[in-house]
């Protein structure tokens, strides 16, 4: 092939149709919602139970209760010890995966499709008859305390936890580490787990998502067999009032003497999942820091070589989660990198993205949507999101069209509304004696230095 014809970017071929797989929605009489999807290319199935039992409803004094209760589910059931449970699961090639977030607890299993009946039986046993034996709970609490200790010495954990604490007003749950602190986890006992389950794990308000090589017509009777006896319900977890700690600019250095790198977090209170500007927000944030070719990455990495990578993220939850730009940078260029990042953020808010950037971000977000729906686990997670955030069953049918319909004005308006440069707190986890002076010279705002925990 000659050089001249190589110069032309190949044209795209005909677009192949993509529809979000058909979701079969039904419910048991006890209120448990069922969502099933048949995707039969591989003999695999993912089962995901979504419980309205997030960390967001836990009092600060008991922070980590939802997470630790989820961890303790592996401790055994009325029928099996923890070791026997693990053996039963691994005999069918499955692992129990518990994910606890601010808004929900999800318990999921993936296995070969022929083992679905066994897998669902084990899942039901874990949820309906957890035993929380004293020695296992003691062990798992010890593991959690050790993990908390690890996080307190991890550069990423230190910076992220400080950023969350400095973002939210005293007492707002989102300001604390998701898994709690040594103080709040210390008093956890088997009774704490049993009480949390008795008060939050109910069929009403929960959903069971089954995706894979299954006949959706048979799913209800299978779920009925294993979850039919389950009863109860509780008031839905409410929205968190996400008050900010401050509406002023500031820089906080969390001192890590002799650190070779600084972990940087810039942000303030962001948006709830229910924001009406969700799609416009996704578009402008992609331009700012949501893709490799974002303004932040092209500046900090490809132009200046300051960093390995940078992200801007809105962590949307039932309440307003944080908006946060995060990166890590060599100690000696910390202030330069912060300065460039602040300038990119401010420029985005003041001028908005360009038409070309909006088009590129829309194409990217609409295009990657099917790429993120290849696996049974990915599809199940997307459907779980609908249940947690009360979104309609046909939500994903219109998803790509809604991304594609975001206009330049809407994206610019969302950038102005969702980012407030004058309220940003800059957190730098790094060597205070090296970085404080240059950071202060930026004149961004008052600088304070904290010791590491």
């Amino acid at each position: 092939m000659s050089g001249s014809s190589r110069s032309v970017v190949p044209r795209a071929g005909p677009v192949r149709n993509f529809d979000f797989p058909t979701v079969h929605a039904e419910a048991l009489d006890n209120g448990l919602q069922i969502r099933s999807v048949q995707v039969g290319r591989l003999p695999l199935v993912t089962t995901m139970l979504v419980l309205d039992a997030g960390e967001g409803l836990v009092d600060n004094s008991r922070a980590g209760l939802a997470v630790l209760t989820g961890d303790c589910l592996e401790g055994g059931t009325a029928k099996r010890t923890g070791a026997e449970l693990a053996e039963a699961l691994e005999t069918i090639g499955a692992g129990l995966s518990v994910g606890t977030g601010w808004d929900s607890t999800t318990v999921s299993l993936s296995c070969m499709a022929e083992r679905l009946d066994d897998a669902m039986g084990l899942l039901a046993e874990v949820i309906l008859q957890p035993a929380f034996p004293g020695d296992e709970v003691e062990r798992i609490r010890g593991q959690r305390l050790a993990a908390i200790r690890q996080r307190e010495m991890d550069p990423v954990g230190i910076a992220t936890d400080a950023s969350r604490r400095l973002t939210y007003a005293e007492g707002v749950p989102y300001g604390r580490p998701l898994g709690g602190t040594a103080e709040s986890v210390g008093p956890f006992t088997p009774d704490s787990a049993a009480e949390f389950v008795a008060g939050r794990y109910f069929p009403t308000g929960s959903g069971l998502v089954v995706v894979g090589d299954v006949d959706t017509g048979h799913v209800r009777s299978l779920v009925e067999t294993h979850f039919g006896e389950w009863t109860g319900g509780a008031e839905r977890q409410g929205e968190i009032e996400a008050e900010p700690r401050t509406r002023e600019r500031g820089i906080v250095v969390v001192d890590r003497p002799d650190a070779v790198q600084s972990e940087i977090r810039i942000g303030h209170v962001g948006q709830a999942r229910s924001t009406t500007q969700y799609f416009a927000l996704r578009v402008f944030n992609t331009v700012l820091g949501g893709a490799f070719t974002s303004r932040l990455n092209l500046n900090l990495r490809e132009k200046h070589g300051f960093i390995y990578g940078v992200r801007s993220r809105f962590l949307v939850r039932r309440g307003a989660g944080p908006w946060c730009v995060s990166t890590a940078v060599g100690t000696e260029v910390t202030a330069n990198a912060v300065n460039e990042a602040l300038s990119e953020i401010t420029t985005m808010v003041e001028g908005g993205p360009t038409q070309e950037e909006v088009e590129a971000a829309r194409d990217y977000l609409a295009g990657v949507f099917p790429l993120e729906l290849e696996t049974t686990g990915q599809i199940a997670s997307r459907i779980a999101e609908l249940l947690v955030y009360d979104l309609p069953d046909d939500y994903y049918g219109a998803y790509r069209d809604r991304i594609r319909s975001v206009t330049l004005d809407e994206a610019s308006e969302a950038a102005r509304r969702c980012i407030r440069p004058d309220e940003m707190t800059v957190v730098v986890g790094g060597d205070a004696k090296e970085v404080s002076g240059p950071l202060e010279e930026l004149g961004w705002g008052p600088l304070t230095v904290e010791a590491t925990p």
């Binding site: 190589r6 795209a12 677009v15 923890g82 692992g95 070779v260 060599g330 295009g367 290849e374």
Partner: protein, 430 residues
Amino acid sequence: MLSIPIERFTLDNGLRVNLSYDDATPVVAVNLWYGVGSRNEREGKTGFAHLFEHMMFQGSEHVPKNRHFELIERAGGSLNATTWFDRTNYFETVPSHHLELALWLESDRMGWILPAMTQEKLDNQRDVVMNEKRQRYDNQPYGDWDEWVQAMVFPESHPYHHTVIGSMEDIEAATLEDVADFFQTYYIPNNAVLTVCGDFSRDETLDLVERHFGGIAPGAEIPAIPGDPTLEPIIGETVRERVEADVPLPRVLIACRVPPYTDSEFYAADVAGSVLGTGRASRLYRSLVRERRLAKDVTSFVLPLTTGAGMLLVWATGYPDGDPGEIEAGLVEEIEGLTSVVDQEIERAIAVTETALVRQLEQVGQRADLVSMFDQLFDDPERLNSELERLRAVTPADVSSFVDRFLGADNRAVLTYVPMPQDTATPSVQ
């Protein structure tokens, strides 16, 4: 038995091409394995294979800097690359109608990268890579473990003695001439495998591959791996290092040489590694985590390396006041106890591996990567479909014989991390 369809072709210039069709989602993966990794680096050039991988994203004759990322992201695709001991891989997954774009970009940097190389780009990516090293290795608790372990398990003359990320000095010293040499030596069609996997039209794809890659001239046979790639099957002793570092919890790592992936005995090693430490029913979890509470977490895996030996790696992280000596003794007891593995444990290990492999196959990108791997390492992409059978053939006697020969005290590297006392300012090595 898996039945992933794979059709294999070889272009005149030596490029091996695999097509694997799957229409579940209208997306397609393009995956390239180049037969070059950190094992090909010469003295004073450690980390270069990885730095070169970064340079591959800096544009080529017909693709300006950043354009590769812009075009793929604009198409709604994802892309990346990784460097490893024995190979470097490049991959993108794009909506099916953008297949030609991905082929064009990959072919342009296989054939026409040198005219686009500049000192400025090299300086920039050297900085990026040095930041990657700081972020992922130097500024991470236990982040330097592989540097220690590789140096203990493989002698200085062996190509696995140094890490993939390399040393800061060597990265700093890289020149444009190195870039040109490396490219002309290793980035040639006859040292690469291209796999296209997903929803595509077969004949059209073959035409596109020929059109974009067919004109790239083959290179000379690649040079022998530097140093001495032959190895004794075992280390010959227990080697130890104790590192006092800024880590929160004590951690003990044990590494052993095992047969290379290309050896039939590798599968016994793989099964032994799973029985030992994969999942909560594994021996290490049951004993050290659940029952004896010596460890807060345990990990075990076998690295499927091909040059002289692979490596079994096991580690346990202790509690804050844990005694590393006791943790090590606990690990050793379970490792040596593997001579008594029973059928049930092997069945569980294989059931878990089967689910994990099938889950990997759900994504065309990972499926393509596996096809490329089996082609590059075994000259047999179809081997993917029979991989589980080789694991299923492993018997308790095979595991026992493997353990006897490879997991004794004469084949052990033990690396112990202990938290620095709170009042000490600088790390020290004893």
